[in-house]
Amino acid sequence: MKMKFSKIWRPALALLLFLFLWEGLTRFLEIEPWVLPAPSLIMKEMIEVFPSFTPHIISTVKLVLIGFTFGILAGITTATILHVFPKVRETIMPFLVISQNVPIIVLAPLFMIWFGMGDFPKVLIIAMTAFFPIAIATLDGFGQTDRELMHYMKMMGATRKQIFFKLQLPHAIPSIFSGIKIAATYSVMTGVVAEWLGAQQGIGVFMTLSASSYRTPRVFVAIVVTIILSLAFFGLFLALEKLFTRWNREGVEK
C-alpha cells in the first residue's frame, strides 16, 4: 500500500498544480467560460449534471467494453493467423493498413446503410480501431522470438501449436500489452466519436448536444469523463501487464 501511495502522489500533485494554474489563468485573464471554462466551473457543472449524465456514461462504457474486447480478440487472432500463415500475411497486410485508413466519418454512412442503426456499427468501429495496434504489435512480438529457444523447440519436434503456445505467445506478451495500451488509450475516445454517427445516448451524444447549445462547461465535463475513463482503462491494462510479466521482476533486481 505504501508503495502504491508513493507512485500516486507525484502525478496527483502534478495534476493539482495543472488544475491550479488553469484556474488561475482563466481567472486572471478573465477568459470567458464559453472559451475555456475554469476547472471549478467544470466541477460545479459536473456535480449538477451527474444524475442525468450517468446513463450516457454507462451506455458509452458498455459500448467501449464490448468493442474493445472484440478488438483485442480480433487483434490477437489476426496476428496469430498472419504469423502462422506467412502467405496470408503478405496477402492481407495491405488490406489491414487500408482498413485503418478509411476515415470513420466517411465509413459511417456506409456502415449505417449496411448494418442499420443499432449498437453494432459502433461496436464495430471501436473494435476496428483497437484491433490494428494490437495486431501490429503482437505480430512484431511473435517475430522477435528468441532464436535459441526456438531452436530448442524445433529440435524437440514441437508442433507449430506447441511452439506457438509455449514459446511465441508468452514471449510476445510484453509486445501484446504494448499494443493493448496504445489501443486502450484511444478506445474511449473512439467510442465517443462513434456515437456521433447516430446514437440516442452516450457521452458523444451529450457532448454534441452541449456543444450545439454552446454549453462549453458541459462539453468539458464530457471531456473530463472521457479522460477519466481512458485513464482507468489504461491503468487496468497496465496492472494486467504487471501481473502477466511478474516473472520478469521476481527475485532481487540488479
Binding site: E148, L149, H151, Y152, M153, K154, M155, M156, G157, A158, Q162, K166, L167, P170, H171, I173, T245, W247, N248, E250, G251, V252
Partner: protein, 241 residues
Amino acid sequence: MSLVIEELSKSFGDRLILSNLSFTLKRGEFVSIIGPSGSGKSTLFHVIGGLLVPEEGHITLNGTKITGERGHMSYMPQQPSLFPWRTVLQNATLGSELSGAPNEELAKQLLQKANLGDMLKAYPHQLSGGMKQRVAFIRALLSPQSIMCLDEPFSALDSFTKKDMQRWLLETWEQYDKSILFITHDIEEALFLSDKIIILSTNPATIKEIVEVPFSRPRSNQLYLSEEFLQWKKKIVENLL
C-alpha cells in the same frame, strides 16, 4: 533402435562445414563426439535433429529415413536455453510436456538430486550458470525419446557436480535403455563415459577417427588413474592434433 548417418554434408553459404560424415549409433550405445571449437559439432546435432537440412546424405532411424524430420531425439543445447517465464520446475518438464506426458513428481525428484530442490519455483535469471545447465540437462533426461543428443552438457560444472551428473547419466542410460550422442571437450570424460569416440577434424569437419573404447562397464573412478586410461587419452590427444 539404431541411428545411421550416411555421407552427410552441410554448408553455410559457401563455407562447407560438415563434409561426408558417416557413422552409426547402435541401440544402447554411448557415443562421444570431440573436435575443435567451431568445427561443426553443434551443427551436426542440428542436422541430425532436423533443424537443418543437409545438402547431401541421409539419416536413418531403424531403417526409416528421417532426414530433416524433427522430434526423434531428446536434446540438450549448448546454451541452456531455459524459458525465462517458466520456473525451474516448469522448465524441467518442458521436454516431456511436448510429448504429452509431463511427470512433475519425477522432475521434482531429479531436481532435488541435482541440488536444485530449493529452487523449484525460481526463475532462470535467479540461477547460476551451472544451475541452468543442470536444469537443461534434467529437461533432456525427462524427455521420453530414446535417443539423447547432449551438447557439452557439463561444461559449466565443477568437477564434483560433474561427476555426480555423469554417474547419474549413466544410471539413466542403463535403466531406460537409451542411446546417447554426447559432445564434449573433455577427453577424459569422453573416455570414461563412452563406447565409441568420434574425432572430428575442422574446416570442414570430417571424421578423423572413430575410437572404440575398450573399458568394461560398470566403470569406477579408479579408471582415471589406470595406466591404460592415460594411454588412450594420449592417443586421442595425438589424434586431435
